[in-house]
Symmetry: C2
Subunit: 357 residues, 2 copies
Amino acid sequence: MSTVENPADKTGAPAPVGPAAPATLHDVAREAGVSLATASRSLNGSTRRVADAYRDRVLAAAAKLDYSPNLSAQAVARGSTMTVGLVVSDIADPYFSSIAAGAMRVAEESGLVVTMAVTGRSPERELEIVRTLRGQRPRIILLAGSRSQGSAVRDALIGELQSFEASGGRVVMISQRDLPFATLSLDNDDGAFELATTMAGFGYRRFAVIAGTANVRTSLDRVDGFRRGLLAAGVDSETVVVETEFTRDGGYDAGRRLLERGLDDIELVFAVTDVMALGAMAAFRESGVEPGRDIAVAGFDDIPTVRDVTPALTTVRAPLVDIGERAVRLALGDDFDRASVDAVPTTVVVRASTPRR
Amino acid sequence: MSTVENPADKTGAPAPVGPAAPATLHDVAREAGVSLATASRSLNGSTRRVADAYRDRVLAAAAKLDYSPNLSAQAVARGSTMTVGLVVSDIADPYFSSIAAGAMRVAEESGLVVTMAVTGRSPERELEIVRTLRGQRPRIILLAGSRSQGSAVRDALIGELQSFEASGGRVVMISQRDLPFATLSLDNDDGAFELATTMAGFGYRRFAVIAGTANVRTSLDRVDGFRRGLLAAGVDSETVVVETEFTRDGGYDAGRRLLERGLDDIELVFAVTDVMALGAMAAFRESGVEPGRDIAVAGFDDIPTVRDVTPALTTVRAPLVDIGERAVRLALGDDFDRASVDAVPTTVVVRASTPRR
DNA sequence: TAGAGTCTGGATAGCGCTTTCCCAGTCGCT
DNA sequence: AGCGACTGGGAAAGCGCTATCCAGACTCTA
């Protein structure tokens, strides 16, 4: 904002007009012929009343000068901001964008500004992001899709977040329930359990699971829940597990690996996320194995698109938007408890990809 | 950040320990036994050198106190920020989340912090968002999916953005090319044109178009381009146009309306966005009209999921992530031209939803 | 050995805003 | 008339930080 200011320029040549600095509150006050204090009080709801005559003059001056209060300056003066930091793994992933949509909705509703960052699933990047986020002094930091099992980076992240909390910030983790912060998690275990029993009830007996990499809690919980469900349903056959990336292409890749291995002894493939299931279905179909007919497929999350694919995907519905909303409401609550662990219930949604046998 | 500070409390009762204010640079300087200036110089790359002995002491003190620079204060002192404001219609929509992903990637690459806001497709909301965004004094404001044809709100929006530019900010519009700002648009017209001629080449002669509401430029361009293409290909039959919301459900609704009207004289339905096409396909299928067999369907954008639906959707590929990246690169460029209008080329992608006749 | 440069710390004046604190004016009472 | 209790404007002290300016300590050259 370096303004070229050269009142002594008498050359007649047009002064190189740099960007004019935006009007300050001072400018408004001068224009209105009132003090700084009065201008400030008029333009934001302070506790103090301002006589209408004065206020109108200030408002008019502000409009005339196109005044826009400098939020950074306000933050400094007030010692607090109206910001919430949202960090997700990948905003193009419907899982995260749905959560983000919910979070942003209630944040904006509450007059909060959302600053968002993407980790690309890198713990180092996540740490770095939280560091700079902390510099913003947000009211809330929301972490969705965090991951980092017992590493130095993880400890640093925890430390960073704890410092943040120590200075009055609030952090909410979404679906990473083994970090020492308020957590809003899906009922991954139960959802997968119920999916398994339901599928067993449909007559399926032999399963494969497409899982995420082992350091991701969400994946572990879903796999475990599924296994428990099978056990509970009396399924005793071995379940094949394939590990892969948490993306559509990861699922595709896992699908290919299953194909190579041979699908003869597998009746149903459970992918721990819908996007992975989608990828796997694509791989199957590409090889002439028709999902829903030759092999059943189920996912988890119920992202919007899975009802529009063919066959429509059986999955476990996670109220993603709702989770985003709840996360910020939780953080905003008067009775915020930094140790609370809420699990949002999930429900099995049966669709055409898993016909009864 | 109201800290309870009561050193005189001798009651023995544990002082109600409010959140401790985060360490300030002042604290660090004191801890390190140096001046504020030296501390500041050590902790950010200032032009001035500071002797290693001093710097190390400062760094150690900062680490010990868990210091995190207050970005707002820096912004105020420096008179500039490292922020970019990104406003989209709906972050859960893959169209926008892809653009956002691209934009965020290069923003973070450049050390910029992204603050994002969602308009929900409301012009009023958009205006309000831009107002508060301006208060952040971001370096850049990126508007994706803006809409507002000739209203008072539109004028206010333009005014707001112009004030922003006047004070050195940069604004880039994505795919809303008739606002007086630098614009990065898709080659909507050409893409639709080519889709039309390709489809005519496949033997289709009778078309329906699912369009967005009339005040959205992108929709208009796509419809016009499609019409021009048909004309150029010598198609002379009347094209049915249905207007609807820019969402999956809007598409579904339009599909239903087409079904009610009767599909006998229609061979191919072109929806101006993929999400709308997806909705329409769902409606068709629900009524026993099989897309790709009983009726051809084509979309626009090539969002990730459309290759995974069945039949895979013929569409016009828009390099969405790329657009997001280019938008912020454009804004960051030394040779930024606030009047530039770039159109990103699109390519027709033929898939199973539009078999040759 | 002076005089002119360089370095590099420290003091300090802001940045744009909020929020005490002070004070003059007005009101309602006795 | 006299006096406490409001009201509401203005001066000014910060908020946490940067950047300018100054001063002392060195290093060079002539």
